[in-house]
């Protein structure tokens, strides 16, 4: 009796498995959804996304596809581009700073990624499909970030190994350095205060721009000339003012990262066309060594002043939801975690919106993405769907 029962279930599953196998072998799939936020124009209601070999082939209200194409009707689902975290330390192994030196533009995070870091999985679970693994803030010129996918095979995941040049125009590099406080050691690290930070930056830029001999001088010069984005971690108004001043002095256009007090000088940032990567958005007390004062509606204030705005630093979905709740428009809140960071990282030709030729990185929501109770149904990276794991279950095959 028991055996017969098992045979019945076995047969049933075999049939189901057959269909399942058949379906996922299709290399081209048309996804139909109630709403599709392409981030290139108004949302499509309803909308269709045609995915082939990990790329988006077509997006529209109604897409014409070959007759044998598999069609997946997602019903009430809202589709969005995968989220992009423009400033993250996820995946860095063996230290996020080379803290024995103050200026390390050659510190490339692309060299030190642990592709199986468990935090990638967490980022993926909340819809983040790409992040910029960035060096820490211990050094004045910290190094180069790299832009990577949070899932997929390691060789495919690197989008941009030469990402942004990271500066730390804040008090972090001066933390713990004391002039002559360690007479027992020949090792004295600079800078010892914030003036020192600006001094090191200014003289490094000066040496680099005048072609004076300086370690990695060429690379700094190219960055200032615009070869790659220049991100500066700056949180307070005085740090941001210094950043604007240096930008004018050496004619480069920086992107401010952190920017907790940027709202206090929104018009000036807007006028200087300095975008701000806010985050992590929170009001949990003062942040960083400067104890900056973030406020909930800073995203709204900045956007109303016309400052380009991205959200970063983990929990992107939650950040976007809070930013919207406290004054950022729906469209800008979504843009701040998708297309805007892609543009700031200069990878908008690969990711950040839904358009033909771009990577098939999608997030499927069961309803309004900015509503706090809406669940993520699945996340797609390069055409591969990652579903929320069932409780207690685990699948070796997809162990990130």
């Amino acid at each position: 009796m028991k055996l017969a029962f098992s045979i019945f279930w076995g047969a049933l599953f075999a049939v189901l498995a057959f269909f399942w196998t058949d379906s996922s072998q299709a290399r081209s799939i048309l996804y139909k959804a109630a709403i599709v936020h392409t981030m290139t124009g108004n949302p499509l209601q309803p909308g269709e996304v045609f995915v082939q070999d990990g790329k988006i082939v077509a997006v529209g209200k109604s897409v014409v596809v070959p007759s044998d194409t598999k069609v997946v009707d997602l019903g009430d689902v809202t589709l969005l581009p995968g989220f992009i975290d423009a400033y993250s330390q996820v995946g860095l192994a063996g230290g996020s700073d080379e803290s024995t030196r103050e200026v390390t533009p050659g510190f490339s995070t692309a060299n030190v990624i642990d592709w199986k870091d468990v935090n990638f999985r967490e980022a993926l679970a909340e819809g983040t499909t790409t992040l910029a693994a960035s060096p820490g803030t211990q050094n004045v010129i910290a190094g180069i970030s790299c832009v990577i996918k949070t899932a997929g095979t390691a060789s495919m995941r690197m989008i941009q190994s030469d990402g942004a040049l990271l500066l730390s125009l804040c008090s972090d590099p001066a933390q713990g350095n004391r002039s002559r406080s360690r007479p027992d050691s020949i090792y004295i690290r600079q800078p010892t205060n914030r003036m020192g930070v600006v001094w090191i930056l200014r003289s490094a830029f000066d040496h680099a721009s005048r072609n004076l001999p300086f370690e990695s001088g060429a690379m700094i010069r190219e960055s200032l000339q615009g070869k790659r984005p220049v991100f500066s971690v700056s949180r307070t108004t005085y740090d941001l003012n210094s950043l604007l001043a240096l930008g004018e002095e050496f004619s480069f256009s920086p992107v401010a990262v952190g920017g907790h007090e940027a709202y206090k000088m929104a018009p000036r940032l807007s006028k200087a066309k300095v975008p701000v990567i806010l985050g992590p958005l929170s009001t949990g007390g003062g942040q960083g060594p400067e104890e900056t004062e973030p406020i909930w509606n800073q995203a709204g204030i900045l956007s109303r002043a016309g400052v380009e705005l991205a959200l970063a630093g983990g929990n992107l979905l939650t950040q976007a939801r809070f930013a919207h709740r406290f004054g950022l428009t729906r469209e800008l809140a979504l843009k701040a975690v998708t297309r805007q960071p892609a543009e700031l990282l200069r990878v908008a030709d690969r990711i950040g919106s839904l358009a033909p030729g771009l990577d098939a990185d999608l997030v499927a929501f069961d309803g309004d993405p900015l509503e706090f109770t809406t669940a993520i149904r699945w996340v797609m990276v390069d055409g591969i769907i990652y579903e929320q794991q069932e409780e207690g279950g685990s699948n070796e095959e997809n162990d990130l």
Partner: protein, 816 residues
């Protein structure tokens, strides 16, 4: 997150089988464990450990007991029969000092109040028993932590699936735990602990209140009762408390009960001692007060050895090979302690003395170590079974295979004392708790052969097992003036003496591909992280105990390395120990370090990224100066030497050995090897599994560091997988035992013996750039070889004669 690949059907295909597997599982497991019917095990070589001895025969198990056993035992009709022809059955192995089944808190816990019962710390839902069971272990002895001077009850537990603590218990109150000298280091500490114990026992004998023992607070752990009083017995009770025998004070203290039980002979006192003075006192205590004592530990029997022998006190010894972190009280163990203790004539059993539950799976590794130390295989088997059961007080149930005994047994595909032998089947109380497919191999334990103590200038050696290119073949090897002149099936020159060693293996000197020979301090320099100019050969000292230990252990060729403290560590060299010219290749490899051992916050670099940058600079010739304040000449020489050594690596003359353990480190090493087209090797790559394809395509070798207890499960298997892909795997380490353990475990995990043996010999010589013919038996090469009792992959084997360049190495010279 679960992936569904639109691109490939593989995932779903696998998923299909998983589904079917899950579906069928309930059918397979329908018969509840433990209710299996009678089973006959037939045709196996049975070690009964009784007067019946060893024979090929049958064994019938019914109702959890051995119903019948015998050479020509008829098998009753209608009974399940498992044909075990060619396999070996032994009584279930017993680990006399384990922490299996204990929760993490319970492993730490100890007390000087005696109120602990170890059963209160037992969690029957822990799953590490499976790994232990897989090694043929069916019973373990657990007790409170060894820091207490009177720590409470220890118990004997099964190694089997359990639903409750009572399922596990073989003997609840098996012994009373105590120790001398685990806490405190001085002789005075030990003596005061001993005096407290003696006075308490004397008081109980005289009917007085023994008072409190050794302070009121628990020494470690969290066993303080929330009520503020002494720790109480917890949940496990087998039907009430026994009546108190001594006069009860207002607050019951089980210490007195415990002592009374010891004095009455109800259960033995298990006393851990390490120092000879404590051992002497312990023996006096047992004889004067006439109490049952079981000693354990014993790092140095010293002067007390003869008294130990005549006292008849049994001992639990271990661990013979330290596989994990060594606790302080075992750090000063002297070489040869094991042989001295066990050859004294005392009854002895083995304990793994592990720090975590799964440590008990090393019991057979310890048994092999005992054999390698010179113990007779039959004595070691007895120690694991019969002696262990008797010492633990469960001799009536366990330890032998005889009618009426509990059906706890293990079936091996060969010699049970070789950890590389796989386990065919394990039975606990008649229930099969582990079963696997395996092909039976030779079951005979190795025996030493006679070999002359002096050799002429020309001679031949014949063996049925000469190791030639990773395979054992019958051959006669002719030696003249230290060189091998011929190697073939028949002797070439008739007038020359041929020594026939029968089936004893003749093996080339083994290779430790990376070792410090115990000279870590002299190969360490921390001035600058670019130490490319340093050559390890310049500090090689071949008189250290570690060097002699390598020779004694059959390792004649060493990759001698500078320490891993610098990112560019310096030049490795190869040594041919005991040879007339021990320097093999003075500049064999460049060593580079990406692990965190070369990161320092006080000098560049402090991060992996910095290490990579530094190596990029070094390899692209961008480091032209030193940061040290040196006289101009010295600085110029330093820089020139660095360039020369790095240049030899870049040109491919010398291989580049990269120390890399984590995934990011391994990836970075491979990037550098690829980018600068180096002849690469990875040292100690633990998380290697994702990189096998790249390692194969870059033709990078793996120098495996010794297996550590925490990566026992994955690391040997990864090495086996690497070897199966055609990657050269060779072995590193500072002790012969650990290197061989790693190789043997890799074989157990699926590496072919041929590849493992080559990794210990010829392949390692190739990877390190040793001279042609090194670590190989080949015509024209040096006659440096070792006669073993069995294959070096059998951890129970040991070298009996060591020959370097045709001459026998004087054993006395090699003594520590």
């Amino acid at each position: 997150m679960t992936a569904i690949r639109s691109g490939s059907g593989l995932t779903s295909f696998v998923g299909f089988f998983v589904l079917i597997g899950v579906l069928l599982l309930p059918c397979g497991a329908a018969t509840p464990a433990g209710e299996s019917g009678p089973i006959a095990l037939t045709g196996a070589l049975i070690h009964t450990l009784t007067e019946e001895g060893t024979f090929v025969g049958n064994l019938v198990v019914r109702d959890g007991k051995i119903e019948a056993i015998g050479a020509d035992l008829p098998i009753p009709d209608g009974i399940e029969v498992i044909d075990l022809t060619g396999y070996t059955i032994v009584p279930g192995l017993i680990d006399c000092r384990s922490v299996l089944w204990l929760t993490k808190a319970a492993i730490r816990e100890s007390s000087s109040r005696g109120a602990l019962s170890i059963l209160d710390g037992v969690d029957p839902w822990l799953s590490d028993w499976r790994e232990v069971s897989r090694q043929g272990v069916t019973a373990v002895s657990v007790q409170p932590n060894d820091r207490g001077s009177l720590g409470g009850h220890g118990s004997v537990l099964r190694v089997a699936p359990a639903r409750s603590v009572s399922d596990l218990v073989i003997l609840d109150e098996a012994s009373v735990q105590s120790s001398l000298g685990i806490v405190g280091r001085s002789s005075r500490d030990r003596f005061s602990q001993f005096e407290r114990l003696r006075k308490a026992l004397e008081a109980v004998i005289d009917g007085r209140d023994p008072g409190s023992l050794g302070g009121s607070a628990p020494t470690t752990g969290t066993n303080r009762s929330p009520r503020g009083g002494p720790p109480q017995r917890g949940d496990f009770r087998r039907g009430g408390r026994r009546p108190q025998r001594s006069s009860a004070p207002s607050q019951p203290d089980r210490t007195k009960e415990l002592l009374q039980e010891v004095v009455d002979g109800d259960q033995p006192l298990r006393l851990e001692v390490h120092h000879p003075d404590a051992l002497g006192w312990a023996i006096s205590l047992a004889t004067e007060l006439d109490i049952d004592l079981v000693l354990e530990g014993i790092s140095d029997p010293g002067r007390a050895l003869s008294r130990l022998a005549s006292s008849g006190i049994p001992v639990v010894v271990g661990p013979i090979w330290e596989l994990g972190a060594i606790p302080d009280h075992r750090k000063k163990r002297k070489d040869g302690w094991f042989t001295r203790v066990t050859s004294s004539g005392s009854r002895w059993a083995l304990g793994t003395f592990g720090s975590e539950g799964r440590s008990s799976r090393f019991l057979r590794v310890q048994a092999a170590a005992a054999v390698a130390e010179g113990a007779k295989p039959e004595d070691v088997l007895c120690a694991l079974t019969k002696s262990a059961a008797e010492i633990l007080g469960v001799g009536d149930l366990l330890g032998t295979l005889a009618e009426g005994k509990q059906a706890d047994l293990a079936v091996f595909a060969g010699n049970p004392l070789d950890p590389a032998t796989s386990t065919r089947l394990v039975m606990s109380r008649g229930q099969i708790v582990h079963e696997s497919e395996s092909t039976p191999g030779p079951a005979t334990p190795p025996t030493p052969v006679d070999f002359p103590s002096d050799l002429p200038t020309a001679y031949g050696i014949h063996s049925e097992r000469v190791l030639i290119e990773g395979n054992f073949r019958p051959a006669t090897m002719m030696v003249r003036e230290g060189r091998i002149t011929s190697l073939g099936a028949s002797p070439g020159e008739n007038e020359i003496r041929i020594i026939d060693v029968g089936s004893a293996p003749v093996v080339p000197g083994l290779v430790a591909a990376h070792s410090y020979l115990g000279q870590l301090e002299s190969v360490t320099d921390d001035t600058e992280s670019d130490a490319s100019q340093f050559r390890s050969i310049d500090v090689a000292d071949l008189t250290t105990p570690e060097t002699k230990g390598m020779v004694r252990g059959g390792f004649l060729h060493i990759g001698f390395a500078p320490s891993s403290g610098n990112t560019s560590a310096g030049v490795m060299s190869t040594l041919h120990l005991e040879a007339t010219d021990p320097v093999g290749n003075a500049t064999s490899c460049g060593k580079f370090v990406l692990t965190d051992s070369a990161r320092s916050r006080d000098r560049y670099p402090s991060s992996l990224g910095g290490q990579i940058n530094l190596l990029e600079e070094i390899f692209s010739g961008r480091t032209s100066e030193t940061r040290l304040h040196l006289p101009m000449n010295a600085a110029a020489l330093l820089v020139a030497d660095r360039k020369k050594n790095v240049g030899a690596v870049l040109s491919g003359d010398r291989p580049a050995v990269f120390a890399a353990e984590s995934r990011a480190e391994i990836g970075a090493a491979l990037d550098l090897i690829e980018r600068f087209k180096l002849r690469g090797a990875l040292l100690g790559p633990v998380k290697v599994i994702d990189f096998l394809d790249r390692i194969r395509s870059l033709d990078v070798a793996i120098i495996a560091r010794p297996v550590a207890p925490e990566d026992y499960d994955s690391y040997p298997a990864n090495l086996a997988k690497a070897a199966a892909r055609g990657i050269r795997v060779v072995f590193a380490g500072d002790s012969p035992a650990k290197i061989r353990t790693t190789a043997a475990l890799a074989v157990e995990a699926g590496m072919t013996e041929e590849k493992a043996l080559l990794g210990l010999t010829g392949t390692a010589a190739d990877v390190l750039g040793m001279a042609a013919g090194t670590a190989r038996l080949q015509v024209g090469g040096p006659a440096s070889f070792v006669i073993w009792t069995d294959s070096p992959l059998n951890l129970g084997a040991r070298p009996t004669s060591i020959v370097v360049e045709g001459v026998i190495v004087d054993e006395k010279k090699m003594k520590p």
